[in-house]
Symmetry: C2
Subunit: 123 residues, 2 copies
Amino acid sequence: MRPLFHPGKDDIRAEDILHALADPVRASIFTQIASASCAQICAAFSSVNNKPIPKSSLSQHFRVLREAGLIRSERQGVEMHNTSRFEEVEARFPGLLPAILVAYSSRKDAPAKAARGRRAGGR
Amino acid sequence: MRPLFHPGKDDIRAEDILHALADPVRASIFTQIASASCAQICAAFSSVNNKPIPKSSLSQHFRVLREAGLIRSERQGVEMHNTSRFEEVEARFPGLLPAILVAYSSRKDAPAKAARGRRAGGR
DNA sequence: TCAATAGTTCGCAATTCCTGAACTACCGAA
DNA sequence: TTCGGTAGTTCAGGAATTGCGAACTATTGA
């Protein structure tokens, strides 16, 4: 198993942060990470949404978050310990994460209205 | 030609904003839009970077920005008039756009270090 | 050593993205 | 009205990315 890559604090890039958090699933994972394991997140998704996310997909999501510099993953015994790198990201891009998290938390939009008819007839 | 889709102010979604601005090219377009036409943006990219962006790609970028609710595009004679919807987005997601724009403008990262060795051997 | 648990990696299908070519829309001149 | 030029959109295909089941790796406890 290859060692997990974590970008250095100064290598964190705005586009990686935005890309990582542009996926609502990953944004949700990130907000739930107060030191949660992958399995706990997985269980949470299974119960809240009734759509259980496959663990391979979840692993990929964690990788994207990790390589964007948003979380740090360390093995602790048999499971993985994920911690937020909020402070580091905040130091590099002040105000960015709070603004994004607020934007997501304020979504009162109807839940996933199936593309809401946009891109009508779209490719 | 299909009429251009613009989401209503309250239909703007955080994930669309983040996805649209996760692309440095689009972020750059957005910051340059003080009422610029597609052709002007295109010319700007040709001169600044020496990599001219094909107009079809540019058109797609504009579409993503438009459908995310970030810009408004209106035909004015033979060319397209793009204006920022900054205030509307700001009203819906306070602080989001300023934080993102600041994050991009503060990038002092070495220009495109060719993936910086990350994802070593990565898929 | 074996079984169980947690997560990663592989491989392929599905989706999305990029871009040259063709097309549409508008304008001005003949 | 027709032609020619300019500006931008749409189409089609290949490239790149993503999603996910299956196989694999790592660690612990019996």
